[in-house]
Symmetry: C2
Subunit: 435 residues, 2 copies
């Protein structure tokens, strides 16, 4: 393949890393292609909230010169604006923090840099990583939401502005926007990527993850971050369980059909797909999750609530007020119930590698007033299990429909291998962004 | 009781809160007594690293004027210098952060203020909450360590400079210094006090807690923080299990005798005390703990390691270097083993309210070069269980010997009630600090 004939910003992370390693392309050229794309599209897509060509190109030049940097050498990455950066202001999606400049990088940002990756800039977040939307738009159709709260991460990666972006999830803030924008959302096992330097929202649930354009890229970046140089792939016949639950009442028919079709596809390819019903006891957990969230968020945002309450959105003010009526004893009891469920959830994975579950009700909602329904991520985030979402088909509006796969605690590497096998079976899913 | 005849700085938190509520004393007078004590003793004890009489007295005056403030109205508190404060520099016990001024309070600090408590200042921490000692001394004998890493918290409370101080524990950094300084150390269930604004060290273990001079005070402060106004006490005959393990090889004979004597005391008072042997599988966990710590600390301190490596202590540099040789796969496996153990640990509490375990090998070590052996906290911190330590006798050097009690996940309120019953049975333990 000649890289000159291809828009470099469209390269996947694995491809790009190999090409840089083999000196087929330079990191500077790759960065420039990403910057060109941002220049061309960001006024409309509004994925990036801060970037600096000079800083990024200087870091890329350094990566080109220093071949010892590590497995992510020369790879551009973007950072959700809920994570601190020393090079760029960090505003947490809130006017309270306009121009706020942290003194140092979040750990995951510095870690990526230490492995050779090049910080391209900051991407939009919903207000304090809640569902109050950012200004980012869905690159596949600008009249639609990119989802939230990792709206900028999904939009920037989906629009080929950058191959990978950090994202965070407390309910469904990675997996849903990824599917809305036709990309891959990976929420690791809780705290597998260090949370230090992330603005806390609900500390028992907040998880740092990433958005990429392929599962292979997600695996490569994560392993690279931890200093492992190679992606472990496996030739697999995935064994999965389609997990049914009352939450399916909220799934649109087109998503149901797409998931049914996926199951059929997998079975035809020789995979085992069983169907399980989510035990009723998990309904309690689903009822607990928003209350646990409200109690913890009320604490986590105590400074903002007390010192700058009038600058919180009405939506967030309301949620925090609801948290006021939750007693300490109830909070402790909720935490205990969650811990018990974390123990029992193992049984869901008996005989299978992963569970299949909806990632969103349907396509990205029209309009930018709502970031969509995060509910399908709630249970898995609460239980600290790794999950990965990806598009599987197109819906009636021509936008992606997706699914998520969830695995046992800590089985991230296996989950990504299994999900990779699944996406190989279904093949590429459109549509293409313009430009 | 006439409060005028008593040094107000020696009042417990519960007493002080009631006296302020009933206008028997003012918060200003209480603060002034604490400040006088600091002026008198801090040059020697070196517990406080920053305080400001003017700021503290102004906040106390406000607390006196506004009776609506909350259950902690007018109570002075100190903050371990590993937690961010907007009013004071926060140096994390490291020269790297000399004069560093966070832009806002850690959540637990702002929360205490919002309940009416008055921030008195910052107290010393070991380097980044590790065992590299601070300059604080043991108020009971200045030639001895106060323990670490919450050295300043334990020394300040033990020396009657302040009735309560925030502390943090990753291995044994609350429970050990508390015992060394003859006070009470309470490490809540993991994240029950929000960790936002704490400098991360090993995020899967780091826990915010408090040091007070009585268990009742610890309960009152914690419940007050969560907005609950009353301490729930119970007339209890505690049922406890004395948990034996290989770690007892490191316990000095005087501590063994003190714990045996405590058991005898409890049995004479009609309490049930059974003896259990810690199952062998926990030995694996104890072996895992330092490796998990090193891996996570290497990530958490990535900025400092890369940008200011030469300003880390030799001790910490060595530990972080050891972390380099731990592979990602081993890390994930350790996290999985910990999660499994968190499930199985329930069985240790069968038929009992709490487990009795050593809090330290013996009395506070002589000299200030070592902060003592943190090992006795490792297992319980890793398992996210609440624990509380307190003195039970004096050792051959005239310094306190102590014990810790551990309860099931989330059973903090019960743990404190049971521990309170135990301390009532054994009565007060000397010695008295000078001054």
């Amino acid at each position: 393949m000649s890289f000159k004939s291809k828009q470099l910003n469209r390269l996947g992370l694995v491809q790009a890393a190999a090409a840089i390693e083999q000196r087929e392309i330079s990191s500077v050229a790759l960065l420039q292609a990403c910057l060109d794309r941002i220049e061309e599209r960001n006024a409309e897509v509004a994925a990036f909230v801060a970037y600096d060509s000079k800083k990024a190109l200087a870091a890329a030049a350094e990566a080109d010169n220093n071949t010892q940097l590590g497995p992510l050498r020369g790879i551009p990455f973007a950072v959700k604006d809920i994570l601190d950066t020393a090079d760029y202001p960090t505003e947490y999606g809130s006017p309270i923090y306009q121009g706020h400049q942290p003194h140092q990088d979040a750990v995951c940002v510095r870690l990526a840099k230490s492995r050779g990756a090049v910080l391209l800039g900051k991407v939009a977040t919903g207000e304090f990583a809640t569902q109050t939307p950012s200004k980012a738009k869905n690159p596949l159709n600008l009249a639609h939401t990119p989802g939230g709260s990792s709206s900028g991460s999904a939009a920037a990666v989906g629009d080929y502005m950058v191959p990978v972006a950090y994202a965070t999830q407390t309910t469904g803030s990675i997996i849903r926007p990824a599917v809305f924008c036709g990309v891959v959302g990976y929420k690791p096992t809780f705290d597998l990527i260090s949370p230090a330097g992330m603005k806390d929202l609900s500390p028992s649930q907040d998880t740092v993850g990433i958005i990429t354009r392929s599962i292979e890229d997600a695996a490569f970046f994560t392993l690279g971050l931890h200093g492992a140089a190679t992606v472990r792939t496996a030739s697999l016949k995935p064994r999965v369980a389609l997990c049914l639950s009352r939450q399916w009442d909220y799934v649109l028919p087109e998503t149901m059909r797409a998931i049914e079709s996926l199951v059929h596809h997998l079975e035809s390819a020789g995979c085992t797909v069983k169907r399980t019903w989510l035990p009723d006891e998990y309904d309690t957990l689903l009822a607990i999750q928003p209350r646990l969230f409200m109690y913890e968020a009320r604490h986590a945002l105590v400074n903002e609530r007390i010192l700058h309450g009038d600058q919180l959105s009405h939506r967030l003010q309301t949620r925090l007020q609801l948290g006021e009526h939750i007693e300490y004893d109830e909070y402790v009891s909720m935490r205990q119930q969650v811990r018990e469920a974390q123990q029992k959830v193992e049984t869901l994975f008996k005989g299978v590698d992963a569970v299949l579950y909806p990632a969103a009700a349907g396509e990205a909602d029209e309009g930018l007033a709502s970031a969509g329904d995060p509910r399908f991520g709630a249970l898995w985030t609460l239980l600290h299990l790794p999950s990965v979402s990806f598009p599987i088909d197109l819906g009636p509006k021509g936008l992606p429909l997706g699914v998520q796969m969830i695995a046992r605690y800590g089985q991230d590497t296996r989950l990504l291998a299994v999900a990779n096998a699944v996406t190989s079976i279904i093949g590429p899913v459109g549509p293409e962004v313009s430009g």
